[in-house]
């Protein structure tokens, strides 16, 4: 047991990676069933492994827990340094839960290269958990970049017709950002006298101009990932081309890596720059809330609409971070988790329709409730969660961010609160045109309601959304000490 808890994070990272390789070994599509069941088993075991992270986590301290540390590349003091605090634990759990969801969601939908598909997701799971656990700069960077490969494959191999454009766009955006992050990490290596320890970086005294440059370098990497306006246009394209499972992971977890990067790296390393640049970031966040919501309103493609909605919701996250207020920041983190469930579920819903009618056009549907009442229930439920209805997880983050922001600057809160109107407008208008109304397309009349597998997946996510909405206290309790400590750290100038 001792060995287990000392190496829990390594297990969480490498078990799914090794598992993914095993799934890959099942080979061609004749053994697809084996690959599916194996993938499900591995993702389930990974989830079970992640449970002690939640139960065994000490909520009273902001120190890193489940720490693993050993020298990896001695020449450059690159360490294999893992640890989690209250900010990363919920994200790790989100990852392990949603991987099960995408495995089940891809069960029958994926019929070609089945083993490779599931292997890609499992390997990606391990790498994403690595991002959330790494405390060494280079280790973080490696996980960060390596995670792109399976994502690339998922879009590139199982994606839609325009996948090359989407992939190159994704490529250009991310490459630019990541390179600057690497440069920043290398600078910090030299400045710290030969270490890639992120916690050392946090304490490193840095001059104002250096902080600004470092912050901007990290900002380039993270803002693209989140994505923030105006570097967001890769996301709708990537979503549209990605298969359902890819969209779910992209929206639910990949975007969160950018936000997480701000909390773990950019802000604590360059707190003065963070304060200095905060008004710009808040401006961009509010732009995301309003501008993107208006753009979302006129989308014809359901996936694009949800993608834009994601950008708008992530605007709330960055807003919550950069007002430097406890409630707003905790709200932003809850929003990250909630958005993972809700946007993931909405992409699943679109996937359910796409599997049947092979169209994502809003105009192709209408009156779906008539033939798919159970599906309609879930779609309306998740739409309401997306619109931030109290009782769902979508409300918690929005509410706390608006409340926290109000106490800092009422005008920010006024603009942010517009999401109550515009967010509901684009979400429910889509629901109106897809779910309600009379059936106009004869193909829709032939649609079959959810099968057991789809029902189970959506029910599971719905329960998560409800539980967080009705009782978010445990989630907030986990992150409380870490957020307090982070804000205390950010309040002290490094100059």
């Amino acid at each position: 047991m001792d060995f287990f808890s000392q190496h829990l994070l390594s297990l969480l990272i490498w078990f799914p990676v090794v598992g993914g390789v095993l799934v890959l070994a099942t080979g061609d599509d004749r053994r697809a069933a084996a690959a599916r069941w194996l993938a499900l088993g591995i993702s389930a075991v990974t989830f079970i492994l992640s449970v002690p992270l939640w139960t065994g986590f000490n909520r009273l301290t902001a120190d890193m827990q489940f720490v693993e540390r050993s020298l990896w590349i001695e020449r450059f003091q690159i360490e294999y340094f893992l640890g989690v605090d209250g900010i990363s634990v919920p994200l790790v759990l989100l990852t392990t839960i949603l991987t099960i969801v995408v495995v089940v969601a891809g069960w029958q939908v994926i019929q070609s290269r089945v083993a490779q598909y599931f292997a890609a997701f499992l390997i990606m799971e391990g790498l994403m958990i690595g991002v959330f656990c790494a405390l060494d700069g280079i280790l973080f960077y490696l996980f960060w970049e390596a995670m792109l490969i399976p994502m690339f494959l998922i879009i590139g191999v199982w994606g839609g017709p325009n996948r090359v454009y989407a992939a190159i766009k994704f490529f250009l955006y991310t490459l630019l950002g990541s390179l600057l992050m690497l440069v920043a990490l290398l600078y910090l290596y030299r400045a710290s006298g030969g270490s890639f320890d992120l916690l050392v970086f946090h304490r490193l005294p840095l001059s104002g101009s250096v902080q600004t440059l470092l912050f901007l370098a990290f900002f380039a990497a993270f803002a693209v990932k989140i994505p923030m306006v105006p570097v967001h246009t890769w996301l709708p394209d990537a979503h549209v081309e990605a298969p359902t499972g890819g969209s779910v992971i992209l929206a639910a977890i990949t975007l969160k890596m950018g936000a997480y990067g701000f909390l773990r790296i950019a802000m604590p390393i360059a707190p003065d720059a963070a304060h200095q640049i905060a008004p710009v970031i808040i401006g961009l966040s509010l732009l995301a809330v309003v501008y993107i919501a208006l753009v979302a309103l006129v989308q014809q493609d359901m996936k694009k609409l949800i993608a834009y909605s994601s950008i708008s919701h992530m605007g709330f996250v960055t807003l919550g971070f950069f007002v430097f207020e406890v409630r707003a920041m905790e709200g932003a983190i809850v929003q990250m988790i909630s958005h993972g469930f809700v946007s993931g579920a909405l992409f699943l819903c679109v996937g359910v329709l796409y599997d049947r009618l092979h169209s994502r056009e809003i105009a192709a549907y209408g009156g779906v409730i008539k033939v798919m009442p159970v599906f309609a229930f879930f779609m309306v439920f998740f739409a309401m969660a997306n619109a931030g209805l109290p009782g769902t997880s979508g409300f918690v983050g929005e509410f706390l961010v608006i409340l926290g922001t109000f106490s800092v600057n009422a005008w920010y809160a006024v603009i942010a609160a517009l999401t109550l109107i515009v967010g509901a407008a684009y979400t429910l208008w889509m629901v109106k045109r897809v779910v309600f109304g009379a059936i106009r397309n004869p193909e829709v009349a032939k649609l079959k309601d959810l099968d057991r597998r789809e029902f189970g997946v959506l029910l599971g996510v719905a329960l998560g959304v409800l539980i967080i909405g009705i009782w978010p206290a445990p989630l907030l309790e986990v992150m409380d000490a870490s957020v307090d400590q982070l804000l205390a750290h950010l309040a002290v100038s490094k100059l």
Binding site: I149, L153, L182, L420, K432
Partner: protein, 644 residues
């Protein structure tokens, strides 16, 4: 049984009823579903009566149920505040809800969505109870949005009708405009008081009343005024006050039972309840009260005029609801909070009655709602007719019916109010009395009197509705007659609501007892105004039916303005719905597609492509090869940095 458990059981029994009838509806069947729903809500009604009895014996309660979240030192809790105000609301809500549940058995008998309907209305009752029983702003907002959700689902109940799903989207979004103010109001409460608990806020309010904040354009704002105005924006959305009233008439697309329950008796009064609950805050801000008063007066007057020209039986009642909500708001603005709640309660009974009576007519008419095709129904539908007349008399404010007392109390309160704008409001409510009486009896005369104007097939099938429909009508007619008489003394001397709302409004010197008011009625102006309205309706619709047409011809401009409902819908459609979509198209096309993608991204891509053209022969064109090359590139770059 502990009190907490008792309180908890009231909303939970409705929730369980909703879940059972909703999720198990297909297993337990129609009868099972309506039994579950009626059982749950009936149980809640009985318990609410027990609680009310307990409260009026002096046992109040204020305490948490569970901690929702703790963040930044603020405890967000779910909890109950049980005092006379919430007790009255609980009894009204569960009683009307129970009646509507029973009525639904008859009204929705042939509808395929029967079990779904029961699930929704039980869920509504749950959310409404959470709203009125709350002891804090968070839970208030929960209930607030919960009733909004169910309202959305029920307006769009017949989801195949385009008009219905248009109306429900509109209702939700207009309410969201109100919620926008509401949530900012909650933010302001938290910023000023550091707590969302009512009692903490009310206790601290007087000492913080002088706090100001810098507003836009250099104005100094009193925090309390700001909070009250923001919260009132929320109330305006839910209680459909001008200019956020546009959703309520369209909500009539929903089945009639919910028009009675949600869009007349309970949900739309949530805003009134909110302001009454916040009376300790509103009392500190004359500015806010003045805004409340004027908005209420405008709503009461403008909407009463529109009711005059409606021909759809439900829309008449809907506009009358808007106007009456305006009356309640006027009472709030005049600091007569208990009077507002008094009118809320009597209105809940007689307006639910009128809606259900209208529904009964609609059943008989085979879903014809146009009053121009009705007439003479009193002979075939005696129970509906008599109860409808009772409801109309109560609405018109004829003594001794319930509406007389509550409306008269409002008029007196405004008369003696010193809130700025009271003069205008007084004129508005007096004119409103004539109009109310006129349109109420216009409905009665057009639907029930005169010659039948329906086609022969409908005429032959006319019959009184079954007992599940008429039973609730009779049950609601009883409080429509008696509620005013029974409650007026306790309301006016302050013993009914005690300290749960701030006492104010009508001067103590006036004799506002039941006896005094009845004795005074024949020499009071409002009474004769009401009589004038009824006689006017009789003249125009029975004695000289050609008069209305002549009037329309003479004042065609005014008539068109009223038929167009002052053009609010067109304006909003143009400015907000089309405006937002137009702006969205512009931003999407010029911002995202041309500027960012076309110029920045693809421009960069083209530059890269041109370079890559030179070396592309070594590349395979497969995406994962690119990815692989990228990693190699990064490693090379890293090495260069590290080894140099």
């Amino acid at each position: 049984m502990s009190r907490e458990l008792l309180y908890l059981l009231i909303p939970l029994s409705c929730l369980v009823a909703a879940l059972v009838s909703g999720f198990l509806g297909s297993r337990i069947g129609r009868v099972g579903a309506h039994r579950a729903a009626i059982g749950g809500v009936g149980f809640a009604f009985v318990l609410s009566c027990v609680v009310a009895w307990d409260v009026f014996s002096g046992n109040h309660f204020n305490g948490p149920v569970y901690t929702w979240a703790v963040s930044g030192g603020t405890r967000f809790e779910i909890g109950f505040l049980i005092d006379p105000l919430s007790a009255v609301m609980m009894v009204v809500v569960t009683f009307v809800s129970l009646m509507v549940h029973i009525y639904t058995i008859g009204y929705m008998a042939e509808d395929p969505g029967y079990t779904r309907f029961f699930s929704y209305i039980a869920l509504f009752t749950f959310a409404m109870l959470m709203l009125v029983m709350s002891n804090n702003f968070l839970q208030l907002f929960f209930g607030w949005e919960g009733v909004g959700l169910v309202s959305y689902l029920l307006i769009g109940f017949w989801y195949e009708r385009d008009s219905a799903i248009r109306a429900n989207l509109k209702a939700f979004l207009v309410n969201r405009v109100g919620d926008f103010g509401f949530i900012l109001g909650i933010g302001a409460v938290l910023a000023l008081f550091g707590s969302l608990d009512y009692q903490t806020v009310f206790d601290a309010a007087p000492s913080l009343a002088g706090e100001t904040t810098q507003g836009p354009f250099g104005f100094e704002w009193h925090w309390v005024t700001l909070i009250c105005l923001l919260l009132f924006v929320g109330a305006m959305g839910k209680s459909a006050q001008v200019p956020l009233h546009v959703w309520l008439p369209d909500s009539m697309e929903g089945p009639t039972p919910i028009s009675a329950l949600i869009h007349a008796a309970t949900m739309v009064t949530a805003g009134i309840f909110l302001v009454a609950r916040m009376s300790p805050l509103f009392e500190l801000s004359t500015t806010a009260l003045s805004v409340v008063l004027i908005v209420g007066a405008l709503t009461a007057l403008l909407m009463a005029f529109v009711a005059l020209v409606q021909t759809d039986i439900k829309r008449v009642v809907a506009y009358s609801t808007l106007s009456q909500l305006g009356y309640m708001t006027v009472a709030l603005g005049a600091s007569a909070y208990s009077v507002a709640i008094f009118h809320l309660a009597t209105h809940a009974f007689f307006k639910a009655l009128l809606f259900l009576a209208a529904g009964s007519v609609i059943i008989a008419m085979h879903h014809e709602q146009d009053m121009r095709r009705m007439g003479g129904l009193r002979k075939v539908m005696p129970v509906t007719y008599i109860t409808c007349v009772i409801g109309s008399l109560a609405l018109a404010g004829i003594p001794p019916f319930a509406g007389f007392f509550s409306k008269d109390a409002i008029i007196e309160a405004v008369h003696y109010s010193s809130t700025p704008g009271a003069g205008f409001a007084y004129a508005a409510v007096l004119i409103g009395v004539v109009l109310t009486a006129f349109y109420s009896f216009r409905l009665v005369f057009m639907a029930f009197h005169g010659e039948g104007r329906m086609d022969t097939k409908t005429r032959e099938h006319l019959q009184e509705s079954p007992w599940v429909v008429t039973g609730p009508l009779v049950a609601l007619a009883v409080p429509s007659v008696l509620a005013g008489l029974l409650l007026v003394n306790a309301t006016m001397d302050g013993s009914l609501f005690g300290s749960s709302v701030v006492a104010g409004g009508v001067p103590k010197a006036l004799d506002m007892t039941a006896g005094g008011m009845l004795a005074h009625a024949p020499v009071a102006v409002p009474f004769w105004l009401a009589v004038l309205g009824i006689v006017g309706a009789w003249v125009c619709y029975l004695w000289k039916p050609e008069l209305p047409l002549k009037a329309v011809g003479r004042w065609n401009g005014i008539y068109r303005v009223l038929v167009k409902k002052y053009g609010f819908d067109e304006l909003y459609q143009w400015a907000f719905a089309d405006g937002a979509r137009g702006l969205g198209h512009v931003l999407s096309e010029w911002g995202d597609r041309r500027l960012i993608d076309g110029w920045l991204v693809n421009g960069a891509a083209r530059a890269v492509a041109r370079t890559a053209n030179l070396v592309r022969h070594v590349q395979s064109g497969l995406v994962y090869h690119y990815a692989f090359v990228m990693i190699i590139g990064l490693v090379a770059l890293m090495s260069w940095f590290l080894f140099r």
